[in-house]
């Protein structure tokens, strides 16, 4: 049973997020509150802060505490070929269209430790498109980006991803895409060559290129409605005409104020196309 000694209320949370923004330049004030509340609460439990005051003091004086906070406050859970059906639709409906571009540009926004990006690289490789593709993969969390650059994953989870891969209509030998080393797997180097991992904060950073496909899956669920609208506009301006936007399967453009600028390619898998 949880013993509730730790606590933080709505106002204290608001205060804390404002402080983090002022001192450290990370703006979480427009993140969906219910989930933010829970994560801050959990962080306090794990890091041994009993109240909002202690936590504020800790975050103020100690950069290491903030780094740990940042690492824990973003939700970094990810998988290769998560939602296999989604990847199937990308194979069938998206890749054949973007194949017509001489240079294919893709952006994974909120890529976490890269599992989704490696999955995409495999799809492109199997479609014979990887050589002329460039994939920008960005995240707010430096810890994630460092991890992603290494391309190293635990071997036991790779074995679980085989099932996902097969369900995503993968026809090759999944094990040929990585080298096993002790209890780890390293994603093949040629699959990673055209990927650029870098830091980018969707809240504060701007358009940096034009893409035929943008994937932002399970990232905006952590934003409130207003911030979602802003970020969708950022994606809209970063897409070439008729470019694709892919969201997580439980994310909808229906609640966005520019939904009429997109058309559904697959309403089930939440893949959209910019139409104006």
């Amino acid at each position: 049973m949880s013993n509730r000694k730790v606590d933080i209320n709505e106002e204290e949370l608001e205060d804390l997020l404002n402080l983090v923004n002022e001192i450290h330049g990370y703006d979480f004030t427009n993140y969906a509150r219910a989930s933010m509340h829970r994560r801050v609460f959990r962080f306090m439990n794990d890091a041994g802060f009993h109240n909002a005051c202690d936590l504020k003091a800790g975050l103020l004086k100690d950069k290491a505490i903030f780094d740990f906070f940042l690492q824990r406050i973003t939700v970094n859970v990810t998988e290769m070929f998560r939602d296999p059906e989604f990847y199937k639709v990308i194979r069938q409906k998206v890749l054949p269209v973007i194949a017509s571009y001489p240079r294919i540009k893709i952006w994974h926004a909120g890529c976490s430790s890269g599992e989704e990006v490696f999955s995409m690289a495999i799809l492109l490789h199997e479609a014979g498109l990887l050589q002329r593709s460039i994939i920008y993969a960005t995240d707010i969390n430096p810890y994630n980006i460092e991890k992603a650059k290494k391309g190293i994953l635990p071997l036991d989870v790779m074995k679980e991803y085989v099932t996902n891969y097969l369900n995503a209509a993968g026809e090759s030998d999944f094990a040929s895409y990585y080298t096993a080393m002790y209890d780890h797997a390293i994603i093949r180097k040629d699959l990673r060559e055209n990927i650029v991992f870098s830091l980018h904060n969707l809240v504060t950073d701007h358009v940096f290129n034009e893409f035929q496909l943008i994937l932002c899956r399970n990232v905006m669920i952590y934003f409130n409605h207003e911030l979602q609208n802003r970020v969708i506009r950022l994606f809209h301006s970063s897409l070439s005409s008729f470019g694709f936007l892919a969201l997580g399967i439980k994310e909808s453009l229906l609640f966005s104020d520019i939904k009429n600028k997109f058309e559904a390619v697959s309403s089930q898998e939440k893949i959209f196309k910019r139409i104006r």
Partner: protein, 182 residues
Amino acid sequence: MGGSAGSFSVLTQIIKLVPSEFSLPIVIVIHRQRNVVSEFTKILTQTFKSKKIIEPDDKEPIRESVIYVAPQNYHLLIEADRTFSLDYSEAIKFSRPSIDVTFESAARVYKNNLAAILLSGANNDGTAGLKSVVENGGTGIAQNPETAEFPAMPQSAITFVPGIKVFDPAKIADYIIAIATN
């Protein structure tokens, strides 16, 4: 309503008794096996054609007379502006969706306008959630463990949360119909 092992039949029994024009939203969190596509929502919608049963998308506004089912593999939370938000973070007590997570966020928003019901299950998810429901002035209800196929989950809540009601399934349905008509 939160349920785990053995809760399916109780849930359908309750839903059946709730009229279609029921004036409140109902949210169902049920544990399903990880990475196995669950037919739960489909079965419900096919069984109860006259009722509006959906898995909400992120930021979907919560409406009356709708039965919402937490999608598999996400936690379902409720925001102050009465919309849903989804969360793909770590499983809690091996569960995603977690009953605790939904109950706790609902407790914060609805305070004393909330009834949270914990049904059959083989673990102790929901106990912490019911605790915050009660602490925030809401009503906590556990299925009578004697009527539960797996009594552990409601039993845990009864043991650790003072002030919750213990009802048989039919009584649970009566109770929620009564609060909706008041």
